[in-house]
């Protein structure tokens, strides 16, 4: 641990933690609004959006990807509404149909297009490339104060940090109306909160988290982090303020434990191949949720009948 850790593990670990937190924060509200599936849907439709953006511009860079993903999200929302109305299918099923077929279309597009020159393939879409986001020029902890070395940090780190800070700021600023409209939308409307705008804003925020995290860590982590840490956190407390803190703690713990286990776990078990960090982080978050279900103090309340 030292020079090697800083060079190989520090940035992937930080990116993993930031991605986990950026997704867990809006996840708290999505789950309480019974919209957890939206996070799932967004992280899937991101793929075709990014592929189309790549085909149009020929480069992988932040803004085209962001617009492509946002465009895909809009198309998905329109399709879901259309299927729901025309086909008279319940929203959950409409959502399920739309995001799986859009994701599949993204996979087909990806296979048909020449992406050999860039790092964009199906596996990348699912698991990201967390392990490859290393800090080449780092020579130890001292590099943290070396401007030349700092300039060489992977750009994904800054992108993910910017997204995490933005999402944290939005969550803090809009905390009160978000909480109020999540609990009681009718009352929120009656005190003048624009509930439809807020609801859309939450989905857009989740989309920003998904797009920012997608490139670095893939969609598996995004889906897991939208749901697992907030769901486990809900079982730890009966106060939203505390729940959100727990969800951040669980997200961080999943990222750290998952990364370490993926890198060293197989070694400890006698195998010499590391496993996918993104896959392991998602697995750990699932295990935390399972443990919370079994042992957390407020597990009895979840699933309690509505309005009784």
């Amino acid at each position: 641990m030292g020079a090697e850790f800083v060079q190989l593990s520090l940035t992937p670990l930080l990116i993993g933690i930031l991605a986990a937190i950026a997704c867990a924060l809006p996840g708290n509200f999505l789950i309480l609004r019974r919209q957890a599936l939206i996070g799932d849907a967004i992280s899937h439709v991101v793929l075709p959006g990014i592929v189309v953006a790549f085909l149009v511009t020929g480069v992988i860079s932040t803004w085209p990807m962001l617009f492509g993903a946002a465009g895909a999200a809009v198309v998905a929302v329109i399709l879901i509404e259309a299927i729901r109305r025309v086909g008279r299918i319940e929203p959950g099923a409409a959502m399920g149909v739309v995001f799986t077929s859009l994701f599949a279309a993204g996979v087909l597009l990806l296979e048909q297009s020449d992406t050999s020159g860039v790092h964009l393939d199906v596996e990348h879409a699912l698991y990201g490339n967390l392990e490859s986001l290393i800090w080449f020029s780092a020579e130890g902890w001292g590099s943290l104060t070396d401007p030349a070395a700092l300039a060489d940090l992977p750009p994904e780190l800054f992108r993910m940090a910017a997204a995490a800070v933005l999402i944290l700021a939005l969550t803090l600023i809009f905390w009160r109306p978000l909480k109020l409209s999540t609990f009681d939308e009718g009352f929120a409307g009656a005190v003048g909160i624009p509930t439809a705008v807020l609801s859309l804003g939450l989905v857009i925020t989740a989309a920003v988290a998904a797009v920012a995290a997608f490139d670095a860590v893939g969609s598996i982590i995004v889906i897991a982090m939208f749901i697992c840490p907030p769901a486990a956190a809900r079982l730890m407390t009966n106060r939203l303020e505390v729940q959100v803190l727990w969800s951040v703690a669980f997200a961080t713990l999943s990222a750290i434990l998952g990364y370490v286990l993926a890198g060293y776990g197989p070694l400890w078990l006698g195998s010499d191949n590391a496993v996918s960090a993104a896959g392991m982080i998602a697995t750990v978050s699932g295990l935390i949720l399972a443990l919370a279900c079994l042992f957390a103090p407020h597990r009895a309340r979840v699933g309690a009948p509505k309005g009784s």
């Binding site: 009160r176 999540t182 009718g186 003048g192 106060r239």
Partner: protein, 270 residues
């Protein structure tokens, strides 16, 4: 009930109809539609100041929808709503709202006091901190509904009646002049019903106006002084004494309210 009385009530209605500008809540040709069929069709109604008005009608008559349209929570297809003679956006701070208890998830992770503090949203805005005087006001509102001892409880631990009182406390925290309540007595115990009606009567005594969507025909004459009978369209409006009649009820509920049932009701003395 005879034709003479009915004529009297209609005549009385025309006379007591106040100009919208004086009324805390006036609706003009209000129509709301969720799908192809209107839920509320072209309703004209004027709630008199300092009254206790019941909105009455069968299930699916559009009572809650009318209230929500008046609050701007559901969009109206056409018509106008005037609150204290002004458009809603300018006077929102003068209205308090108690939604149906069953419309929210009581498993939500929050405490009783936090729910009451939501009533101070317009004052607190996005970023103002909750200070001690805010907290004290919230506790005072809980005291008024007999729930001060429950301030730190998680809301999921409350009974239905206690939940309803917490909702009323939140509306009291709004400190409004017009109180709109959606079925405040639905599924509550007798003690809660008494506590709620006492608070509503004290609001009237403080010269505030109370409008309730109300289900229980048996208590209308005891609790309210004004009624609005609707079944998608308006059937009648006016003082309980002249409007809450067997005839009007029959028109509102149609065949769904048996004549025998009406006979058992405590109707205003004819």
């Amino acid at each position: 009930m005879n034709t003479a009385l009915e004529l009297a009530s209609e005549a009385g209605e025309r006379v007591t109809h106040p100009a919208p500008a004086d009324s805390p809540l006036a609706m003009q040709e209000l129509t709301v539609s969720y799908g192809e069929k209107p839920a509320v069709f072209s309703i004209d109604a004027t709630v008199p100041a300092e009254s206790m008005t019941a909105i009455i009608g069968p299930n699916g008559a559009g009572k809650s929808t009318l209230l929500k349209a008046a609050l701007g929570i559901v969009p109206r297809l056409s018509g106008r709503v005037l609150v204290f003679g002004a458009p809603l956006a300018q006077v929102m701070h003068r209205i308090a709202y108690v939604p149906q208890r069953a419309s929210v998830d009581w498993d939500f992770p929050t405490r009783v006091i936090d729910v009451v503090l939501m009533g101070l949203y317009r004052e607190l805005g996005l970023l103002h901190l909750v200070r001690r005087h805010h907290r004290e006001r919230a506790i005072a509102c809980l005291e008024r509904v007999g729930m001060a001892d429950f301030a730190d409880r998680q809301i999921g631990q409350l009974s239905g009646g206690q939940q309803q009182r917490v909702f009323l406390a939140r509306a009291l925290a709004q400190n409004a002049e017009l109180y709109l309540l959606d079925e405040p007595f639905a599924g509550v115990d007798a003690a809660t019903e008494k506590a709620i009606i006492d608070v509503l009567k004290s609001l009237k005594a403080e010269k505030r106006t109370v409008v309730c969507v109300h289900h229980d025909l048996a208590t209308v004459t005891d609790y309210f002084d004004h009624v609005l009978l609707i079944n998608v369209r308006k059937i009648a409006e006016g003082p309980v004494a002249t409007t809450f009649t067997a005839d009007n009820l029959q028109k509102t509920y149609g065949g769904r309210l048996a004549t025998a049932h009406i006979d058992q009701l405590k109707l205003p003395a004819a």
